[in-house]
């Protein structure tokens, strides 16, 4: 039955979503070459849950975030929000649903209109959606600023007069202006310095607690996700390769890619050395057809074999609550190749 990861009382369900983008270049006989940014992804986000979505650049995580709130249209598949098919709705009924889902971008500088004062950036969406206007809207805007750790004196400022951390707070306040239930947070702290990033992470945790929000938290940095997410989905080349409760994923990754990703992260402890993934021979241009398992060329799982090239591993429940798209997920995946093995000789220059 459970061929799709379920969640108890899901707020958002992504159902076999795919998104392809045409690649620039000449039209081939068989049509234009395409890049499959998101490839048959199914996920469910439970009400009140924080689902972390991690992956490296080009893994499709941002595209998936945009699909989840229907800012772009999928090539195939559906998004369900609180039981409504997001793609069956039009006009006013879609707008009513949109109010309940918002997105916060990585770069608040670009997300905010540079010619709009902070106050206007907050009151405008309220007016558009008919939630409040005039002094009532201004009052709500002031309250929102306070909630995100700014004060009402910031209302008259322009985005460029704020620091990066303050801008990100305004971005959050604007997303909250419509009283949403679901927030897609796309790399919310990756442009910020660590001391400020930690402030924003605390703010996100507090907002979620107070308002009972549901988050889809997208980040390339696994450590950022660890403390906030209840569950984490790992993406690789458009596919979800692992999905697990946060705690389990970091303790015992089941997919070899997750294991490699975890091992590559520098830890502020001189006793721990990051371990790199092996370098791959030409992984192929974007749009290049993947072997059945997209990770196969870089995989160092001892059981790797022909099956990995011939048969696409489905995301399956390996243990209760733990999903992995690997034929050999039952056997532990080593973090990286044996580092004691001699390096490939690189020949010292004179």
């Amino acid at each position: 039955m459970s061929d799709i990861p379920q969640a108890d009382s899901p707020l958002v369900v992504l159902d076999r979503l795919s998104k392809q983008f045409p690649l620039p270049g000449p039209l081939l006989a068989g049509g234009r070459a395409v890049l499959t940014a998101v490839d048959q992804v199914s996920l469910a986000v439970a009400r009140g849950e924080t689902l972390g979505l991690v992956g490296e650049s080009g893994s499709g995580k941002t595209t998936l975030g945009l699909l989840a709130v229907r800012l772009i249209e999928p090539t195939s598949g559906r998004v369900w929000f609180d039981g409504h098919d997001l793609h069956a709705l039009r006009g006013a009924s879609l707008r009513r649903l949109r109010r309940r889902m918002q997105i916060v971008f990585q770069d608040a500088t670009q997300a905010l209109n540079p010619r709009l004062r902070v106050g206007a950036a907050l009151t405008e969406p309220m007016e558009v959606h008919g939630l409040a206007r005039g002094p009532a809207a201004a009052q709500r805007a002031a309250a929102l600023l306070e909630e995100v750790g700014l004060d009402a004196t910031q209302m008259d400022r322009y985005p460029h007069q704020l620091s990066g951390g303050q801008r990100q707070r305004v971005g959050l306040a604007r997303a909250l202006a419509l009283e949403p239930e679901f927030l897609v947070l796309d790399e919310p702290v990756s442009n910020l310095d660590v001391s400020v990033a930690a402030q924003i992470l605390h703010l996100l945790a507090g907002l979620k607690r107070r308002r009972g929000l549901t988050y889809l938290l997208i980040a390339h940095h696994l450590a950022v996700v660890r403390q906030l997410a209840d569950r984490v989905a790992v993406m690789y080349r458009g596919r979800v390769v692992e999905l697990a409760p946060s705690r389990d994923l970091y303790r015992e990754p089941l997919h070899p890619y997750t294991a490699s990703l975890l091992a590559a992260i520098p830890v502020p402890d001189p006793g721990v050395r990051p371990r790199p993934l092996p370098i791959v021979e030409a992984p192929g241009p974007p749009g290049h057809p993947l072997p059945a398992c997209g990770f196969e060329p870089r995989c160092h799982h001892p059981r790797k074999d022909r099956r990995c090239i011939a048969e696409r591993p489905a995301l399956r429940e390996v243990k209760p609550g733990r999903w992995a798209a690997c034929h050999y997920a039952e056997e532990p995946a080593p973090a990286s190749p044996d580092t004691s093995a001699p390096r490939p000789s690189t020949g010292a220059p004179a």
């Binding site: 001391s195 450590a223 975890l262 993934l277 020949g347 220059p349």
Partner: protein, 343 residues
């Protein structure tokens, strides 16, 4: 605080380096009174958040800053292999650039020329440092690409930068930096633009190269994790100042400046259970208006009257370990756990 001339002089001795910019907001004192030394073959990590002056410091070492805009204090000294670069004529300076010290930037894509092949850039650079026949320079280019771990180097020579991935571009940029056989490599956030798995490869390469080539490295990074994994010694910068410097083990075991200690707690950790990283209150200051006296005092949980009146010098915490904090002097006050409380 430069001691008497060492019997064996370090590769690089920077003393009282100050750099300011004329900017719309007034004079920005990006780097103030920074002194440090770097031994041959040593890897020093310079750690700090954006705006703390670490990149200005790196660029000023090679005197690459635009001179009428960036003002280097006349007291500043940058002694590299015995020569003071602040007084060198342009010709000799050119020889040091790339030949003595070389730079690798964050964006490899922007340090490579997009309209020239990797091969022609390498050959040109090799020959600029050492006159030789094109064919020999080409052999040397292949050697360099092999040294930085690029596969099929002969083919790479014919490729343009855009044909390489980000990680491969950074390798090519490192090859270019090594073309003049430098003694010191300054790497300014060399992996910030890369994915973690690729970052780990490049860090591995840097550590490998420095051992094989006896290269000293000044690694500029905002990531304490990177410093922990690679550096012999770490220097922490805050608001244009060096605030703490120590051998790596020592720094992570006994962070003594409240800023270093706070920074360590602000890093999201992979290896710890679900505890949110601890933020540092307030905002990092800006170079046009550094706080008076101790520059960290507005954000410091331990600050008292003295910190608002007088800026502390770098005080000795232990051998080779210094912190710019009055707490070093006053062990009975509360402070970060690392600071010596029982010496």
């Amino acid at each position: 605080m430069v001691g008497p001339e060492n019997p064996v002089s370090p590769l690089l001795a920077v003393s009282r380096l100050s750099v300011a910019y004329r900017s719309a907001g007034g004079l920005a004192r990006a780097v103030e009174n920074v002194s440090f030394e770097l031994e041959r073959g040593e890897l020093l990590a310079l750690v700090g958040e954006s705006g703390c002056g670490k990149t200005t410091l790196a660029l000023s070492l090679l005197r690459l800053l635009p001179e009428p805009v960036a003002l280097t204090d006349p007291e500043s000294r940058i002694v590299f292999e015995g020569a003071d670069l602040t007084r060198l004529d342009p010709r000799s300076l050119r020889r040091v650039r790339g030949g003595g010290m070389a730079l690798v930037f964050q964006e490899a894509g922007s340090s490579l020329n997009p309209v020239l092949t990797i091969g022609s850039q390498l050959v040109e650079t090799v020959r600029a440092h050492q006159p030789m026949a094109r064919r020999r320079a080409r052999d040397r280019a292949v050697e360099l690409l092999t040294a930085v771990g690029l596969d099929r180097p002969e083919q790479r020579l014919e490729q343009y930068p855009h044909q390489l991935s980000g990680g491969m571009q950074q390798r090519a940029a490192i090859a270019l930096a090594l073309a003049g056989d430098p003694k010191l490599l300054i790497a300014d956030e060399p992996t910030t633009a890369l994915d973690v798995t690729v970052q780990a490869q490049i860090l591995d390469l840097l550590s490998d190269l420095r051992h094989r080539l006896q290269l000293a490295v000044l690694l500029i990074t905002h990531d304490l994790g990177i410093a922990a994994g690679l550096a012999d010694r770490v220097a922490v910068m805050y608001a244009g100042r060096l605030v703490e410097t120590a051998p790596t083990q020592q720094l992570f075991a006994r962070a003594s400046h409240p800023y270093t200690a706070a920074l360590l707690q602000a890093v999201p950790r992979m290896d710890q259970d679900a505890v949110l990283p601890k933020p540092i209150p307030g905002q990092p200051p800006v170079a046009t208006a550094w706080p008076p006296a101790c520059r960290f005092h507005p954000r410091c949980p331990y600050a008292w009257a003295r910190c608002l009146e007088e800026e502390p010098p770098l005080l000795a915490v232990g051998p080779q370990h210094q912190a710019r904090c009055w707490l070093v002097d006053e062990p009975e006050r509360p402070g970060p756990a690392g600071i010596n409380r029982c010496a």
